[in-house]
Symmetry: C2
Subunit: 332 residues, 2 copies
DNA sequence: TTATTTTCATGTAACGTTTCATTCGTAATT
DNA sequence: AATTACGAATGAAACGTTACATGAAAATAA
């Protein structure tokens, strides 16, 4: 009879196997150990159902196999998808994830960073908004959609190219006069380039465009007003609209319906993100798709690479266009 | 000049403040300490910018202030919302969350449980499918939507009442002949009661009903076939449909559109969950809303209560009906 | 004033690992 | 066969806390 009150420790395994503590540690960590020893230890581990105590491990080795993910929320599809894919990638690498949902609140972001650090995470991936986050020197950090200075790498999709692609698509699909709509909210550094890309695309295709950009506090109705002002005799003067996110596109589509405009016959709409209904179905609208899975992988790769480059890279991943019912279908 | 290579420890604080190690520990943990001592210690903590090492803490106290959340994925709106609210609730209680996205895979679920346990979490909240999960005796576990035996508490919304409510609503809104549609996938114990509730509701309102229940592997098209079979002269024989989830309702709505049926004029549709577009807007369809925030809170409360009741409760939270455009509006 | 109780900071012993200097046993060299 | 070299298991020390037994000082009682 053994006292089985608490979980077995390495010491127990060592005793059971008749080897030294250090040997057990080596076996557990996959370090080279003589075959007969390894066998005996593995047997003992089986028999006692031993599991390493990650807290002891973390304390001694100061490597915790845990990373923190800072994200505004887990509800908006783009974020939810990011969380999902990052989790998946981490799992493959045997890393755990501390989820930090920040509500895009600068204070909360900083708080979570402190928490993560005192929790000795091996690194942090963050989609944050606080312009002056303080990150301890020693903690690897990878930013999403926002370049945060020379010490921190950033992963983003190619927002400029995406904007450009949207313009080109609209041109290809026969548009002559288009609009760019954007609302400030939740757009950090990199996604701002969508605008520049779109302008660039319009210019190169000689596509006439107008912009309507709302700030964070502005009432949504201004978009409706804006669109109304461009209706003459029941006909909207735009035949194409590029919305800075699918989220916005969804709202605009509702307004267009209300104003009696047919999509895509009267006006075509392209969004940005690649949001899908319920996560597994069709796109919610025609859209510029961000490569979420690749973004996730890249973040993890950058975070966990063991030899940090002197100059952390700014990684820009390619986007693509996807049909989602709000544009005319292309002839094949 | 101090060597500031590594983070300051309690020992450093103790030296700085000229007190004993134990005293610092007490201050940090809010235990009673003489006022002058407390002050000196707090000053030293400020000065050195000391942060507790949660790994040392976890090792010694075997209380880690961390819980694990097992969830199939973070993408489907109901799950995403659950994650969000649980995170929020935990934050208020100063707990951290280890996110475990399982893909509803039994093996992965078990793997994550083992991981969580060796990570010495203070408890686990799980929405799982594996019928014979092995959970170590010592780890508090709260299940969502699935009662897992006498040792484990379960939180769920009132699925029976929800089904009943759906039937009653349809009756109130003038339906005479309704259908219940369900696909096996992702329905654990408790949500199965939606069916029984719906039947009960139909019977008590003398509402004629039919059911079409698909198993997990079955092709989705069978729903289309089923509905087609019930069309005579362009008219669907059902004037109301209850779908077991909003997810399903969304698909059914597409089929109905394809079949030329007008919603809600020809046929009214009610889903289940309370899914909203993009997390912040209107409901995706008329639906029975699960009180996600309350579910989240209840889970955390049950998990973290310090005196476990002998018999873990099965908590059933009330649902409500919400209009979402796929039913006739009620007259006020 | 002395004896007795109470209060409270102190310091040491774990907690379960990893690491590294040590040592033991064996193989290679002459 | 004797010496040296090598490889590999060993075991003690340390990681940064918490908990508990200890003892000193202050407060009360006699």
């Amino acid at each position: 009879m053994k006292k089985d009150l608490s979980a077995p420790t390495m010491k127990d395994v060592a005793r059971e196997a008749g080897v030294a503590l250090g040997t057990v540690s080596k076996v557990v960590n996959g370090l080279p150990v003589g075959e007969p020893y390894r066998l005996r230890v593995e047997e003992a581990i089986q028999k006692l159902n031993y599991q390493v105590n990650s807290y002891a491990q973390g304390l001694k080795a100061s490597r915790t196999h845990t990373i923190a993910l800072l994200i505004p929320n887990t509800i908006e599809p783009f974020f939810a998808s990011l969380v999902y894919h990052i989790n998946l990638t981490l799992l493959k690498r045997k890393y755990r994830m501390l989820l930090c949902s920040t509500d895009a609140d600068p204070g909360m972001e900083q708080e979570y960073i402190a928490m993560a650090q005192q929790n000795k995470v091996d690194g942090i991936i963050g989609l944050t908004y606080n312009p002056n986050l303080i990150i301890e020197e020693g903690t690897p950090f990878v930013a999403i959609d926002r370049s945060m200075g020379p010490r921190i790498s950033c992963v983003t999709s190619d927002n400029f190219a995406g904007g450009q692609l949207a313009a080109e698509k609209l041109a290809d699909l026969g548009c002559k006069n288009v609009a760019f709509l954007r609302i400030g909210s939740s757009l950090t550094n990199e996604p701002n380039k969508r605008k520049a890309g779109f302008e660039n695309g319009c210019l190169s295709r000689e596509l006439h465009y107008e912009m309507k950009i709302l700030n964070d506090g502005d009432p949504y109705e201004e978009f409706e007003t804006f669109l109304k002002e461009h209706i003459q005799g029941g006909k909207l003067s735009f035949d194409g609209i590029f919305c800075v996110t699918d989220h916005l596109a969804y709202r605009i589509l509702k307004i267009l319906r209300k104003l009696g405009q047919k999509v895509p016959e009267d006006v075509q709409v392209i969004g940005f993100d690649g949001t899908r209904h319920f996560g597994f179905q069709e796109y919610t609208c025609s859209t510029i798709v961000q490569p979420v899975s690749e973004i996730a992988q890249m973040c993890v790769d950058l975070l966990l690479q063991d030899n940090m480059p002197a100059k952390p890279p700014l990684v820009c991943l390619p986007v693509s266009y996807a049909y989602g019912g709000t544009t005319l279908e292309e002839e094949r």
